[in-house]
Symmetry: C2
Subunit: 213 residues, 2 copies
DNA sequence: TAGATTGTTAATCGATTAACAATC
DNA sequence: TAGATTGTTAATCGATTAACAATC
């Protein structure tokens, strides 16, 4: 794998999709695929697919294409999903629980280590046999345990406080679902899922008769 | 408002963010703002903000800037969030319920009309006093009721079937949370929230020491 | 070998930024 | 009026697509 000096965000956002399609192909027992065939399935141009992959090295073979199994694995390595991540969930309402279940059922790759909430009625409740802790214990927990990722599924009002605790506690990445733009140091990776923004842009397209997007 | 021939997707994705910040300003009692000040808050260049807004018309005034209240309202009109939308949720697990609660608490703008699930143990259960129906009743429900948006929070295996029923039932937009790329006619607006893709790109950035993104 | 398909360079396209005249 | 700031055109930048030589 080449040393990726600087790969554009647009490319990174496409990698999981490539991996997802390769997983499908693997399941179907397909063992080789050309950029042209992938293009037809995914909808990106063959040229773009080859460009994207070549940011990280030449995974294909002229005249043959790509080996499905190997490319799937290598994209996994590039993304870093070939190892395990410890996760805490801050905000244990429906959304937090949905994510806990997702991680739990997904099987390998993610371990939900702890969940937190401010609401007394949620504290102590069990989600997949893990008891929800009081939000105030977040700082102490992080000081005593190694955690890779903090998921913020609190309301907007608690989100920045949660982020501050997570950063202080040394997490490497924050997956934020609260509808605010968090202030975090650039060394902590931040990925936002702004559901209300997403819904609003859906509504925009609904109101264009010609939504060819 | 100008007749927007074709506004790029990138612009549309930024509109909800502008609106969110203007809402904040409104709450704080600020009544005018320049593109330069907005730029400092949001992080986009002043030039970009002015370009974006001018896709839809001149909302500002030279020497003054933009009226917060008026710009907020006008972006609402552009997005179409100035009226109400009827929604059905297909897949009533944690994620579906989280979205139902979100719509419910958000107050105005969205009405969850019905929820569906394949699992017998979920059918009949109430979420905000709305009983979950059997997935098989989706088609009939849509034939008899007018629905704007269908939310797909099923597993991957049922998602396309849900989408087909929704399209047949005449919804105008689909908000898809299942980790698949749905096949839908271009007249139906489609917005995907691929949580696993989002998580995977977070993991990529976690593994770069210099994640200046 | 001949055909297929990659890896990579060059061309194009689109989006962002800069600049500034218009004007409140 | 003078200062501020927009609306808009032009310049730049980056990402996508096209083309094709390399090579399996």
């Amino acid at each position: 794998m080449k040393n990726p000096i600087k790969v554009s965000n647009a490319v990174i956002k496409r990698l999981p999709k490539y991996r997802r399609y390769l997983e499908e192909l693997k399941k179907k027992g397909v063992d080789r695929i050309s950029s042209g065939e992938l293009s037809k399935m995914i909808g990106y141009t063959a040229s773009q697919i080859r460009q994207d992959l070549n940011n990280f090295g030449g995974f294909g073979q002229q005249g043959y294409g790509y080996n499905v199994e190997s490319l799937h694995r290598q994209i996994g390595v590039i993304l870093g999903v070939d190892r395990d991540y410890g996760i805490v969930i801050v905000g244990s309402g429906n959304l937090g629980q949905a994510i806990a279940n997702y991680m739990h059922n997904y099987g390998t790759g993610f371990s939900v280590l702890a969940m937190f909430d401010v609401k007394p009625e949620l504290v102590g409740r069990r989600v997949n046999s893990l008891a929800i802790s009081d939000f105030d214990e977040l700082g102490v927990y992080l000081a005593e345990n190694f955690v890779d990722i903090g998921v913020i599924t609190t309301g907007a009002e608690s989100a920045q406080r949660a982020a501050d605790d997570l950063v202080k506690g040394g997490v490497k990445g924050i997956w934020n679902f609260a509808p605010v733009d968090l202030q975090t140091p650039s060394l902590v990776a931040l990925e936002n899922v702004h559901l209300s923004d997403s819904l609003h842009s859906l509504i925009y397209y609904i109101n264009r008769t010609d939504n060819l997007q």
